[in-house]
């Protein structure tokens, strides 16, 4: 499956004025992560767990930097209590979440959190938008970035497995 759509997402993030990128790696973000590391104007931070990114990007915003958190749906569960920081302080947070546990998933252990991702985010007050067509990824990120940074809200873009492709397990 082509990952060229990630170049469009990268361009949308740069155009939105993003200066800091925090991530726990996911195969669906592989090319985007490489593009971010390749841009010396971006401060790109690898995390041990996703809630670190929620805190880090709140600090970045206090310091004048816009940021983005790249995560997998399993990592959304790690973020829940930390989301109280940007939600309570009306600090913008943009999250790009690659989905597992749906649409051709092989690994049953991904299903519980994948299916709970939207509900968990919405329970914490995060606005959730979903992309199932790669051609819509960049424009969705562009408009969700505008929403987050113009309104001080937490906004998540869920990138479905129809976009990123189901992970292939080979013996």
């Amino acid at each position: 499956m082509s990952d060229a759509w990630q170049d469009g997402v990268y361009d949308a993030l740069v155009a939105a004025g993003v200066r800091q990128v925090a991530y726990v790696p996911d195969a669906g973000h592989k090319r985007l992560i490489e593009r971010c590391h390749g841009n010396p104007a971006l401060a790109t931070t690898v995390l041990t767990t996703e809630e670190e990114g929620v805190a880090l990007l709140a600090g970045a915003y206090l310091g004048g930097d816009r940021g983005v958190l790249l995560a997998q749906s399993s990592g959304v569960g790690n973020c829940i209590n930390m989301l109280s920081l940007p939600v309570e302080c009306r600090i913008p947070l943009l999250m790009l979440v690659t989905m597992r546990g749906e649409w051709g998933e092989f690994n049953a252990w991904q299903v519980a959190m994948g299916q709970g991702t939207r509900t968990a985010l919405e329970a914490m007050g995060v606005l959730v938008y979903r992309v199932d067509d790669a051609d819509r990824a960049a424009e969705t990120v562009r408009h969700c970035a505008a929403l987050a940074f113009n309104s001080g809200r937490c906004v998540a873009v869920l990138l479905g497995q129809r976009v990123i492709g189901a992970k292939v397990f080979r013996r």
Binding site: Q20, T48, E52, A55, L56, L62, D65, L85, E88
Partner: protein
């Protein structure tokens, strides 16, 4: 004779100058406020485990300003992986200081892992903090205060303090107010979005 947390915090903040300060929820927020309020103090009232990472994001956004995170041992223990993230990122302008009473003071003074021998300065050192130490005496505190805002980071110190209860000093806690006053003082304008 153990160090007292309010005295230690006040000593460290006395020379803060234009440094940016982030405090962990509970006692360290009260300690920092008791030492004197500033719009450049961002008091956390929740988000347990996140203080050091708020400091990292701030340090990366403001590489020419010193960033000081003051937090408690319980708060630091909840975000221990953050020490690895900071060690990997190597921010030269970040200092993390843990006021370590070995207790969860907010919830009834239960013993934390540090009271059972876990060595936070050892963890930070192993994660790649260039300077990492445990402070136990007034002389060691003085030495820390003298290099806290100048020595290259990432710098870590755990200050062992007495587990005596202290009075709660209610720091400002309205999130958008804390956000906007901080950004206005740092970036100019009204600090809003």
């Amino acid at each position: 004779m153990s160090l007292e947390r309010r005295v230690a915090t006040a000593r460290l903040l006395r020379d803060r100058g234009d440094a940016l300060v982030v405090t962990g929820l509970g006692s360290t927020t009260y300690d920092a406020y008791a030492a004197g309020d500033s719009p450049l103090s961002f008091y956390l009232w929740g988000a347990m485990g996140g203080a050091a990472l708020v400091g990292l994001g701030l340090a990366r956004a403001q590489p020419n300003r010193r960033v000081l995170v003051l937090t408690g041992d319980g708060e630091m223990l909840m975000g221990l992986g953050g020490l690895a993230t900071i060690g990997a990122a190597q921010p030269r302008n970040l200092a993390v200081v843990v006021i370590d009473n070995g207790r969860y003071a907010e919830t009834g003074m239960q013993r934390t892992h540090t009271a059972h021998g876990v060595d936070l300065a050892g963890v930070a050192g192993a994660c790649g903090f260039g300077a990492s130490e445990t402070v136990r005496t007034p002389a060691e505190l003085e030495a820390l205060a003298e290099r806290l805002y100048g020595a290259p980071g990432p710098l870590f110190a755990a200050i062992k303090v007495a587990p005596d209860p202290t009075r709660i000093e209610l720091a400002p806690r309205d999130g958008p107010v804390l956000r906007s006053r901080f950004r206005a003082a740092l970036l100019g304008g009204d600090g809003a979005l």
